[in-house]
């Protein structure tokens, strides 16, 4: 019943929206009738009267909003979460429970420096806080600080489950060690944790496994692992985007499109970009509308000037607009902020498409120093 309702609403929305192609342009309200659906509202809405007085209550409310934001892919929920923490938002000596949630919000919004500072403050007070420790490791790893990340993982106490410890190390190994290291560790930990306490951690482990398979070019195994990850945790938007990239790279654009069923205005920027790319690749009739929508989003993000959006900019320029030079500049800007596998591949492909030997050479040097190898890049090098 729910799915049917959803589809009806999407159809109604699509109807209203297809009335215009250009974005930010008025629609003809004379074409509407009383029952035309203009917007969908979430199940839970915040209100100004919902004031919390204690740090504990504020942290709890913010945590609920973060969970809502993740489950519904609704970025506004993170704004409501931040609002709940407003009295302590800029205080260096915020209560511990507030600081934990604040650090996660900083992390979600890519304010890496603030997130790192919060986790380090938390760990100074409570060195055994495994949660803060693993968050910090993930943060350091995403920025390419592999040694620091490894040190953080090593601080995890044996009380933490094997799977969590393995995931912590494997996210680093999948970037720096030979692919088999992460493959074997993850396979062992996953089979030992068969009944699995936490689906999100298992999903994370499976998507890391998929990335390890991709590195050696075992695409069939990678695909099976991505499917496992999404079966375990359908809310893992990150794994979904990685899987879409996997499918698009294999020329399976329609399969990639099928991964995203919501109306496009409810997708994250990264997800929307994959939809745009896949729609263009499979020559969908609405491809141009989607391109305009994505361009509008990137413009709004650039104007806000907050979260780093260079990764999305580079992706859009490279795969949608076919402007390799613009893409390379953006990818290099992004490189100074984050260095996950997606970022390495993006920079490599942009350098290659732009025919920039210097950029390519610099990246090769970095790869040699960290120990990163990838089948897609070996092929790219062969064709270069």
């Amino acid at each position: 019943v729910k799915r049917g309702g959803l589809l009806r609403v999407s159809a109604a929305l699509g109807c209203v929206m297809s009335a215009t192609v250009a974005l930010g342009k008025p629609i003809d309200v004379r074409m509407l009738n009383e029952n035309s659906v203009l917007a969908r509202l979430p199940a839970r809405m915040p209100s100004a009267s919902e004031k919390v007085l204690t740090p504990q209550a504020a942290a709890q409310l913010a945590t609920q909003w973060i969970a809502t934001g993740r489950a519904t892919n609704d970025p506004r929920a993170f704004g409501y979460a931040q609002q709940a923490l407003a009295p302590w938002w800029t205080k260096a000596d915020a209560p511990t429970e507030v600081m934990k949630v604040r650090a996660r919000l900083h992390q979600l919004d890519h304010r890496f420096a603030q997130a790192t500072a919060d986790y380090q403050r938390l760990l100074r007070a409570q060195p055994d806080d495994a949660q803060a420790r693993i968050e910090l490791a993930t943060l350091q790893n995403a920025q390419g600080q592999f040694d620091a990340a490894r040190a953080s993982c090593e601080h995890l106490t044996p009380a933490v489950s094997l799977l969590v410890r393995t995931v912590c190390h494997s996210q680093i190994n999948v970037m720096t060690a030979p692919p088999t290291v992460a493959l074997q560790a993850l396979q062992t930990a996953l089979s030992a944790d068969r009944d699995g306490a936490n689906p999100a951690v298992r999903a994370w482990a499976w998507s890391l496994l998929a990335q390890a398979h991709e590195r050696v070019g075992d695409l069939a195994a990678a695909q099976r692992a991505f499917v496992r990850a999404l079966t375990i945790d359908g809310n893992d938007g990150y794994a979904r985007v990685l899987y879409a990239d996997h499918l698009i790279a294999r020329g399976r654009a329609t399969d990639a499109l099928a991964l995203f069923t919501q109306p496009t205005n409810e997708l994250s920027d990264a997800a929307l970009l994959r939809v745009v790319h896949a729609a263009a690749q499979s020559k969908q009739p609405n491809a141009q509308t989607l391109v305009a929508q994505a361009r509008d989003r990137l413009r709004a993000a650039a104007q806000r000037g907050e979260a780093p959006h260079a990764r999305d900019e580079a992706y859009f320029a490279l795969y949608v607009e076919n402007k390799p030079r613009t893409a390379l500049t953006a990818a290099q800007r992004n490189w100074s902020a984050q260095r996950e596998m997606t970022d390495v591949l993006l920079l490599a492909h942009a350098a290659q498409a732009a025919g920039d030997d210097n950029a390519w050479y610099e990246l090769q040097t970095w790869m040699r120093n960290t120990g990163f190898t990838h089948a897609a890049l070996t092929r790219a090098k062969a064709t270069a």
Partner: protein, 371 residues
């Protein structure tokens, strides 16, 4: 065990860190056809409007055209309150009215036209304070575009933060505001005839007292510096205390006393009464005038450091105005000074009208307070 469970519950969050479309509104501001009034339009997401105006009458988590229409006036009302526009530091009225629906990259927005009575000139300082959703969504931003006097610019307005200066002689709103306080200070002393006459009398008195000795410009200047400084220090004290709200003396008491101070000073110039403790007496009068000056100060607002700076600018303006008046008086009297000083007739000629005028003020102001 409990801790371990907590860890597992939370550990997922670190990923999913994908950039996203947060809540934005789009505000466009421009000059109207006559290039004199500020107009524009404002697009606000339906989802955000639903947080401040009830849009889902039948509670089915969708907003239909039928549900939106009856609420358009409430939307205009509620959103109007979230825009504070000031030109040259004075609030102007903004009126919003539903125009149409607009599609942006994350859904449909309500577009309202904006009409204001803000008058624009190339030198106008235009400031915007933006407060939409300031108590609901900490990540909401107003993406503002201005097309004014040939310049197309973009701004990001954060709800509840310091106003944006969208147009003005200087890009720093703080500096131009300080300039305004300084000018207010100069204007205030120059526009009050009682203050002008008082300063004039201080100059005249200083001249008169020094001319028994060898009348020269240096001794006059020294005496003048002495009384003017005493007056300044004293009125700075009471002006600051009043402006900061630490002291509040009714103008019903202060105004007649200021008139009386002018009267007494004029008499003193004519027939010296106040021979001893001159600094104390001038200082006491200064305290009185300080209370009077505070009336010319626009209420101070902002952070403590901003208030202090504004007050300082106003004080500097008062001092500058006072020095201008003293300089003008000195310049006016220079011919007599050159001819060997002021004759008793000349002094009488200057003082008697002031005494009469001040006496009238005293009576008027006392009458005004008792009525």
């Amino acid at each position: 065990m409990k801790r371990w469970l907590l860890l597992l519950l939370m550990v997922c969050v670190s990923r999913g860190a994908l950039a996203h479309k947060a809540s934005d509104s789009y505000l466009t501001l421009r000059a109207d056809a006559s290039a004199e009034k500020l107009v524009g339009h404002w697009d606000i997401a339906m989802r955000d409007l639903a947080l401040i105006v009830p849009l889902d009458a039948n509670d089915d988590r969708t907003v239909t055209w039928g549900e939106l229409q009856p609420q358009l006036a409430s939307i205009a009302n509620a959103t109007q309150k979230a825009l504070h526009i000031r030109t040259n530091n004075e609030a102007c009225t903004a009126r919003l009215q539903f125009d149409t629906l607009v599609e942006h990259s994350d859904g449909l927005y309500v577009r309202q036209t904006l009409d204001t009575d803000c008058t624009l000139t190339p030198t106008t300082t235009l400031a915007l304070q933006y407060r939409l959703l300031h108590d609901i969504d900490a990540q909401h931003r107003g993406l503002v575009r201005t097309a004014l006097f040939g310049a197309d610019r973009q701004w990001v307005a954060t709800p509840g933060e310091m106003p944006l200066t969208l147009h003005g002689s200087t890009t720093s709103g703080g500096l131009s505001a300080l300039g305004t306080y300084f000018v207010d200070g100069v204007k205030h002393i120059a526009a009050g005839l009682d203050h002008v006459l008082f300063v004039g009398l201080l100059v005249l008195g200083a001249l008169r007292r020094t001319q028994h000795a060898a009348p020269n410009e240096r001794s006059v200047t020294r005496e003048l510096l002495f009384v003017i400084s005493a007056f300044s220090v004293a009125h700075c004290i009471t002006l600051s205390l009043t402006a900061l709200g630490l002291v509040n003396v009714s103008s019903r008491i202060v105004e007649p006393l200021i008139a009386l101070s002018v009267l007494l000073t004029a008499v003193d110039v004519l027939r010296p009464l106040l021979t001893s403790h001159r600094a104390l007496i001038v200082g006491a009068f200064g305290l009185l005038h300080g209370f009077g000056f505070a009336g010319g100060l626009t209420p101070l607002a902002g952070t403590p450091s901003e208030i202090a700076l504004s007050l300082l600018a106003f004080l500097l303006g008062i001092e500058a105005g006072q020095l201008l008046i003293a300089g003008a008086a000195l310049l006016l009297l220079t011919p007599w000074l050159r001819r060997g000083g002021l004759s008793p007739r000349a002094i009488r000629f200057a003082c008697v009208p002031v005494i009469v005028l001040a006496a009238v003020w005293v009576v008027e102001r006392v009458a005004a307070t008792s009525s």
